[in-house]
Symmetry: C2
Subunit: 345 residues, 2 copies
């Protein structure tokens, strides 16, 4: 099951863990940002990495595809990586998604450790064992559910993030409040984004940890973590080509639309809806979609991983802090709410 440490990396048992695993080879996967901003800190804090191979990828979601996975397989083969060797994923969601997938499938699975450096990575992408790569516009279309050996969350890395990237993760934090904890939602409504403590990170991450522990293979309950993602994923894919927005931004708008749908169906109160809209619209704007992007959106919605019997299924709220899943919806209904909300701002 998932093992997670939240706190200063230097006080963690990572050095001991590496020594216990006795890998004959270690590789650290970074992107150009974490290579520069995070790797020196990690090399200083953690023992046993002196001889590690450092892999540096181009930052950004576009890197997360099968072609890059193939490059990494070849690289690990060149390093003569065996099944007992270790991959350390140092980065945001892109790095842990891609690195986790490669580790889970190279020689049918090698050990890996995640050190998330983005807010999104810390509270979401690194927890729950999901990994994956994109297939063209289809996000995470290929992947597995495989748990890292352990995840190490040090809030110090948040100081390396631009505001845009903080907001990318903050959307998932808001989601955790909306689906499971009104008190967390209230804390987040008042939060200064420059001041995120280990305690708050633990509280946000715990929502996902608890849900995932109860349902590791997403047979039921875990689906609530998809709140905001039915609309959000399709929106993200539709805009990717010409007007790309971040995953978090797309999910924030997805949560806005799906909350409004919850309200329209009489599931949440006017007051709940007002509080949700206030927090989301304080940080996120509703992007325009062109005609072509609207069509693309509808097409992507039909291909959503959560669909069953060719029906589009979404999560809805029943209050702030409570969520239901497998609710039918269609593209038209979603787009009607989107148009109304666009018109009202």
């Amino acid at each position: 099951m998932q093992r997670i440490y939240v706190g200063a990396l230097i006080e963690s048992d990572l050095t001991q863990l590496i020594s216990d695993l006795r890998p004959s080879k270690i590789a650290v996967l970074t992107d150009e940002n974490t290579y520069e901003l995070c790797l020196p800190f990690v090399m200083n804090c953690v023992g046993g990495l002196e001889a590690a191979e450092i892999i540096q990828l181009e930052a950004g979601e576009a890197t997360k595809d099968l072609e890059m996975a193939a490059n990494l397989y070849s690289l690990l083969s060149d390093y003569e990586f065996g099944r007992r060797d270790l991959l350390i994923n140092l980065g945001g969601g892109m790095i842990s998604d891609l690195g986790g997938f490669v580790a889970a499938t190279y020689k049918r699975g090698i050990a890996f450790i995640n050190i998330p450096t983005s807010l999104l990575g810390m509270i979401d992408a690194s927890i729950g064992g999901k990994n994956g790569v994109n297939l063209g516009e289809l996000k995470n279309q290929v992947g597995t559910i495989t748990f890292p050996g352990k995840t190490f969350v040090d809030p110090v890395f948040l100081t390396t993030l631009p505001e845009y990237e903080m907001l990318n993760g903050f959307a998932e934090a808001i989601k955790h409040g909306l689906i499971a904890s009104e008190s967390l939602f209230t804390s987040l409504s008042a939060l200064n984004l420059n001041d995120v403590s280990s305690d708050l990170l633990m509280e946000i991450a715990s929502v996902k940890l608890q849900i995932v522990e109860k349902d590791p293979n997403e047979t039921g309950l875990r689906k609530v973590l998809n709140f905001g993602h039915t609309f959000g994923h399709a929106l993200e894919g539709a805009l990717m080509k010409d007007h790309a927005i971040s995953h978090g931004h797309a999910v924030a708008i997805g949560m806005l639309i799906e909350s409004k749908l919850s309200f329209d169906r009489g599931l949440i109160t006017q007051d709940d809806w007002n509080r949700i809209a206030a927090l989301l619209l304080k940080h996120y704007t509703i992007p325009v979609m062109t005609e072509e992007e609207r069509e693309n959106f509808s097409q992507l919605l039909r291909n959503d991983k959560k669909n069953r019997d060719a029906k589009v299924l979404t999560c809805l709220l029943t209050s702030i802090g409570s969520c239901i899943y497998d609710q039918e919806v269609d593209a038209k209904e979603f787009l009607k709410i989107y148009d109304e909300l666009r018109a009202s701002i």
Copy 2:
């Protein structure tokens, strides 16, 4: 865990199983041979496949790579396959390895069923949950361990196989005798390959089933299934470019070399060695390796998935029917035995 049926397909519960799974879409993965020789039979025996998408691949191990996996992901996406939909792998080891990998990783895993049509598929590739694709010359370098919903073994399909393909599977059958059952080895020494019964198939498959059940993730015991494969895999890879031989042929020669090494180390008797050599050399010849292929062989050996701490590890016999694993060896020792045996024939 693994569910397997051995007997006439028409008397099996496959139709019921499909009906229970309630997939909204089904795809059947075939190669050009099974499309022609096996698919019509399956369509006649099994209900619920009328609307299935039929995918036909080029036969042969060269098809089993990441590029083909990517094509299949795209195809399933085009079919709007969801997580509850079903892939049926109808073919030999190539089809179940590739189809199993794609099913295990498409949208983080969809349901799949194996109908092996080759002897190798029936007694080996379809059992144990291992899947994978090749990375250049590196066999099954990328894959997972994921069990099919069920495997259906009907000996009728063996009548569609050329002798070459029977011998390909027969090597693994001999392996099952050598590592676990002297009585099975004795039966196989006297077998007419045109007359393989359901009962014998069940006996051969049971060896692997029992081992895999005790050790699904290959932490220990399961490694004995790699007997013949340390030398065999490297040989297969080394010859692939210019003098390709079948996997089974390579494993047969691998078993010959590793049995001789067992004898040279005093682990098995002269009589055991004589019996093993007699059966293997009755069906299989020792191929020549060029200088370049010998170098390639040594390089591939160093990259073997079973290695640890950069040491080459192999299985050895302690008698016919008993095997140990994690025994150190090096390329020189292997090649010395290979040269001796080549010279003696």
